[in-house]
Each structure stands twice: as C-alpha cells, then as structure tokens.
C-alpha cells in the first residue's frame, strides 16, 4: 500500500505552491487562486488521515466538506468584491489601490 | 466477484504465469478496448441515422453516395477532416485552444465508465456511479467558456458565454430528477437501477405504478434537460448555425473539428443512455415481464443499442420540427419553469422510497402522488397565465 507520507508530501508541495503565489503576486485574482491551492492542500491531509486511520465516523470527510463549502463561498464573495473594486478604482493590483484613493481619474 | 466481466474465464489461464495484478490490468485493458470500440462505432453510425431521418422528414434523401445507402459517410467525413490543415487564429491563446478540446473530449469519454452495457459488462462498478457522471457533466461549462475565450473572436466569446450559461442552467433540473430516481432505488449504481426495472411486475420507471406515475413528470424534465445539455435544437443557440457559425467552436478546424463533432454525438449518446437507464428500462427488452432470454448479454447489448438509436431518431425528429429558442427564453425555461417542476416532482417521488418513508402506507403514497400532480398543474397554470400578458 502507498505510505501515507507521500500524501503528506503532496499536500506540502501544494501548500508551498499556494504560499509562493500569495507572497509574490500582486493581482487580486491570482492571490485568490493561490489561496484555493492552500485550502486544497489541507483537504488532502484531512482525507488522507481519514483513510489511513480507518475513521468510520467520517471526521476527515466532514472537515473536507466544510473546507470545500467555505472555499466556494469565499471565492464567490472575493470575486464580487474584486469586481466592485475594479469598478471604483479601475485597478486590481493590490499594492496600488490605496494610492488611487477616491479619484475617478484614469492614468 | 459478482461484477466481473462475462468473458473473464477467458483469461483464467493467464493467472498461471503472470502476477495477479497484471492479469487484472489485462482484463481491464481488454474491457476498455471492447467497450471503447463499441462506443466509437456508435459515434460513426449515430450521425448517419440522424442525417437520414432528418432528410426524410424534410423530403430529401440524405447521404446516399458513399457505401450502401450512405452508411460510410461519417468515416469518410472523419478521414477528410483529419487530413485538413489545422488553422489557429493568430492571437489565439494556444493553451486555452488545446485545453478546451482536450478537456471536453477526455471528460466525455471518461463519463462512459459506469454505464453498463450488459449485466456484467461495464467499465467500472464505482460506488458512486451516476454521481461521477454528474460531476463530469459539471466540467463542460468551463471548457466551453475557455474554448470561446481563447479563440480571440467576438462571436466565439458571445457563444462561450451563452453556452456556459445554458449548460449551467440545465444541470440542476437534470440532477434533481436523477436524484429522485436514485433515492427511490437506494443506489447510485446504474446497473442496480436497471436490474430493479427488470424485475417481473415492475414496469420501467417512466410509467411505473411503483413510482405512482410520477416517473412521467420526472422523466419529462430529465429528457428536456438532457436535450438542452447536449445542445440540440431547440436549445442550440450557442451554436446557432445560421447566425454564429459554431459559437464557441468557430475557430477550430481539421482534426479539432472532427473531435468536436464526435464530442457532440457523445454528449447525445451519454444523455440518451442516462435517460434510458434511469427511466426507460436500460437493457430490459420487455417491460412488465421477466423472461429468461432477457438476461443474455448479447440480447442486452442489442436492446440497449436499439433504444439508443430510438433516441437518436427522436433527437433528429426534434431537430427537423422545432425552431430554435432565444437565449432568454431558454434560460427562463431552465431556471423558472423546469427547476420548480423538478423540485416538486422530486419531492413527490421521495414519498415512494422503498423502505417506506415516514411509515407512509400504500394509500398515503398515492395521495402524495396525486398532490404532486395537482401542485404541478397549479404551478404551470399560474406561470403560463402570467406570462401570456408579457411579450
């Protein structure tokens, strides 16, 4: 059987990939995409431990289900916020929204 | 194993000189080959049936030239398309162009896995057979959208938006109707649902008294949603041949176009097969009786193929008779009419779950069925009497 350490390694690789995205990116949507990867990494860990400890009360699946639902809700609301911010400021680059302030001028 | 393929005894001698896992791999590969070839052969003759039927309904003859009565028309088309030049627009996104085609083809073919062609002849007996098919169906909208966007053309983008919207809208009534039948039969496996319809005294789910005749409404909703999911006329506004050329698939040429044509008929095949398994008896030959010859694998394959071609003919009939719906009419049909009807019919059907739900006696089940019918009629009357004042 496949040793559990490989699934943990897999989730570590995905987690640090998401973290790399969050650190280096400035575009809001790309940060959201990276956050999705981090949530998925946690999901894999929950389901792996659920399977390898033989939990018949499905605790791992429940956590994974809640994480999926929360990630979906967060993505929806985050993207709606980004669209609204884009309409007000004309820019979605996260480092420069505060400096545009309330002006409606375009550069 | 009870769910081993019928021909597994053929591979018995291999156990002597190969490790166990490898023999299982060989059996799986052989099953994939057999079923995959059968499916691909349907894709070669399905469009021929449709073109002949459509032609006769329009007073002409259809393909007659290539082969006997034009039966080799589709292989000839395929051969021609494969050798054509593969043109990509100059500023199209190469990744999206490839990924949309790859994703649609792979997910369409992969969705054939839990569909049984005989009692023991299926790709894989998952625990979650039909949920897997539904999950794969939910991958079509993003793939269409990516294809439309990456073509770098205004009309392809419009087609992509419309296609994604339509496919998203009709998934929900389809899944709800499917879930009603799944709950009544208590299993996700399509083979078990078919076997339940083969039992003597139980008619097919479409007109079975064991569902209180609610199968009529549920099946009707599932059929309309299935036609919309395959983007057939009257629901083909994303394609809209006379207006948008091919919608999100305008810019694909050569072998990509051949793949798209194949995927269109695979969608029709899978949706028809799902309707057949859930509502029309699967590979059962005669509805209310259970004869000995119905359990023969060859008879089952022939019966299933015949039913599949019946639905291809019905699709061709719809195509030659009905006009195309506008995108707002289409989306309003999906969200405002089919969804409430699917909800009411599914909840009503749940009253017929086999270990009786809430301890409902026989008479109360029929009362539930009657109440459901009445509610649906009331809903349709209210809805149509209010929309007649508009447009």
């Amino acid at each position: 059987m496949i040793d559990i350490i490989w699934f943990i390694l897999f989730s570590t690789a995905l987690f640090v990939t998401g973290l790399l995205g969050v650190i280096t990116q400035t575009n809001g949507i790309r940060i959201l995409i990276s956050v999705e990867f981090m949530l998925n990494a946690a999901n894999i860990n929950f389901i792996a431990f659920n399977s390898y400890l033989g939990l018949v009360d499905f605790s791992g699946w429940s956590m994974a289900l809640f994480v999926i639902a929360i990630a979906a809700a967060e993505a929806a609301i985050g993207l709606a916020i980004f669209i609204s911010v884009y309409r007000s400021f004309g820019d979605i680059t996260l480092g420069s929204i505060f400096s545009l302030g309330e002006a409606t001028e375009v550069e | 194993m009870t769910d081993s393929p019928v021909y597994e005894p053929l591979f018995q001698p291999l156990f002597n000189f190969l490790p166990d896992k490898m023999v299982i791999g060989v059996v799986v590969a052989f099953t994939t080959l057999v079923l995959g070839s059968w499916v691909m052969i349907q894709q070669l003759f399905g469009p021929w049936v449709e073109r002949k039927v459509m032609a006769r309904m329009q007073g002409r003859r259809g393909p007659t030239y290539v082969g006997w009565k034009g039966i080799l028309q589709i292989p000839a088309d395929l051969l021609k398309l494969v050798f054509k030049e593969d043109i990509m627009p100059a500023r199209a996104d190469r990744l999206g162009f490839f990924v949309s085609i790859a994703l649609i083809s792979i997910t369409s073919i992969v969705s054939f896995a839990p569909l049984p062609w005989g009692t023991n002849l299926m790709g894989a007996n998952f625990g979650v057979g039909i949920l897997y098919v539904f999950a794969v169906f939910s991958l079509f909208p993003p793939a269409m959208f990516i294809g439309g966007w990456s073509s770098n053309s205004k009309y392809a983008l419009i087609g992509g938006f419309r296609s994604a919207g339509q496919l998203l809208a009709y998934e929900i009534p389809m899944f709800l109707s499917g879930i009603a039948i799944i709950a009544v039969n208590g299993t996700f496996s399509l083979r078990t649902i078919t076997e339940n319809q083969m039992v003597s005294g139980a008619g097919w789910n479409l007109f079975s008294h064991q569902l209180g005749f609610l199968g009529l409404i549920t099946g009707f909703v599932f059929f309309i949603a299935g036609v919309a999911e395959s983007e057939r006329i009257p629901f083909d506004i994303p394609e809209a041949e006379a207006e948008l050329v091919m919608g999100p698939r305008t810019e694909f040429s050569g072998w990509r176009y051949a793949l798209i044509m194949m995927v269109e008929y695979i969608h029709l095949t899978v949706n028809s097969l799902l309707f057949i398994y859930l509502f029309f008896g699967g590979y059962d030959a005669i509805p209310w009786v259970d004869l000995a010859f119905e359990h023969n694998v060859v008879v089952q394959i022939i019966v299933l193929t015949a039913k599949l071609y019946l639905f291809v003919m019905i699709a061709a009939w719809l195509r030659s008779a009905l006009p195309r719906m506008r995108i707002d009419q289409l989306l309003s049909l999906g969200w405002k009419q089919l969804l409430p009807i699917a909800l009411i019919a599914s909840i009503g059907t749940l009253g017929f779950v086999k270990p009786s739900l809430l301890g409902l006696g026989e008479m109360w089940k029929w009362i539930v069925s009657a109440i459901t019918f009445v509610l649906i009629f009331i809903f349709m009357y209210l809805h149509f009497s209010s929309t007649r004042r508009r447009n």
Binding site: I2, I29, T104 | D93, G127, S138
Partner: protein, 222 residues
C-alpha cells in the same frame, strides 16, 4: 519507514519539474520529460504508486504553473486543470464520493467563477519584480523542508487500513454520512448555510452597486 533523503528527493522533483518544463517549448520534449520524471518518482516511491506518482507530478505542475504564469486567464485555466487532476487523486484515498464532490464544486463552480471574473476584469498581466520572486522561491523551499522535517519526526510507522467502503454501497455510505452530519454536526450546518447565503446576497449586492464605470469604452458586450 521511508528515509529522509528520498523524501527530499521526491519533494525536490515535484517542485523543480515545472521549472525544467518551462525551459523547453517543444511538446514532444515535454511528454518525454514527463515520462522520465514519472519513472524516477515511481522508482523512488515504490511500485505501489505507479499511477499515483504521475498524477501527483502533473497536479503539482499545473499548480506551479498557475502561480507563476503572467496572464490571469491562463492561471485560471491551470487552476481548473489542477483541480480536476487533484479530484481524481482522491480515488486513491478510498473516497470516490469526495472525488465527485470536489470536481463538481471546484471544477464546475469555482473555476467558472474565476474565469468569468478574469474576463470581466481586464487587468491582464501582473509584473512581478525579480527580488520578490527570488525571495518567494527561497521561502517556499525552506518552508517545504521545515514542514517535511516536522512531519517526518511526528508520524509513527503507518499501516494503511483496508478500504472502509463496500464497493456497491455508495448510497448507503452517503446516507450514513449524511445522518452523521445532521446529528453530530447539527450546530455547524445551519451556520454554514447562513454563511453561504450571506455570500450569495453579498455578491449580488456588490455586483449591483451602481458606481460610476470608468472604462466605458472597454465594456465587454455579452
């Protein structure tokens, strides 16, 4: 118990593979490299992981490409692909139910949300300066090694249990699971429903805000 060196080697291959793939442009070389690296991974992980190792490799490839691509739409496409392959790798953990759920929600829900948003927001490329990127890579590798070291010391000898699923019984499993969710987690599900309802209402309210649209000439015609 797997040795530390093999763990680091596998982690290194998983994270370095996308960078190597980016150096080449030819698709044939890509396919050959994929098979070569899958072979190396299968050799390191043991032949039980013959199908899992290529799946892990391709998922990590899509994930890394999603975070270092410069165009938003391409990142969204890679997100979709990574979610699909990730969903298929749940089958190896005896949870086919979560495969279907994951592909439905992430592939059919979140991916198309991100795709629509990426089309409506026309900020097409984001420039990342070199110093931030190099810092990011250093932090990434360091954190990966630290996490693996922590886990490596923490896990006892693991013995994988057999499947908890009877293969014909997906419906009973979901029924028991739903019964479990509604009785044990009774206090969580209504809050989750309220959260999602709030997200829905908030998203609709935000999208219908009638603020002044600045880029009038670049509106997307639907």
């Amino acid at each position: 118990m797997v040795s530390y060196g093999i763990l680091l080697a596998v982690l290194g291959i998983l994270l370095v593979f996308p960078q190597i793939m980016r150096l080449f442009d030819n698709t044939l070389i890509h396919i050959v490299l994929y098979f070569v690296f899958s072979g190396i991974l299968v050799y390191l992980m043991g032949t039980d992981a013959t199908i899992l190792a290529p799946l892990m490799l391709i998922t990590t490839y899509f994930a890394v490409m999603a975070v270092i691509e410069t165009r938003v739409m391409r990142a969204a496409i890679f997100l979709l692909l990574a979610m699909v392959t990730l969903g298929f790798s749940y089958i190896f953990l005896n949870s086919e139910i979560l495969t279907a759920l994951h592909i439905s929600v992430y592939g059919g829900g979140i991916a198309i949300l991100v795709l629509f948003a990426a089309v409506l927001i026309e900020e097409n490329s984001s420039i990342v300066d070199e110093r931030t990127q190099i810092n990011g890579y250093i932090i990434t590798f360091a954190l990966a090694m630290i996490m693996i070291s922590l886990v490596f010391r923490g896990i006892p000898k693991s013995n994988a249990t057999t499947s908890i699923i009877n293969i014909d019984d997906g419906f009973t499993l979901i029924r028991d699971y739903s019964y479990f969710l509604w009785t044990t987690y009774t206090h969580v599900i209504p809050f989750l429903a309220l959260l999602i309802l709030g997200a829905l209402i908030g998203a609709v309210r935000l999208a219908l805000t009638d603020k002044e649209v600045i880029h009038e000439e670049k509106e997307v015609a639907i």
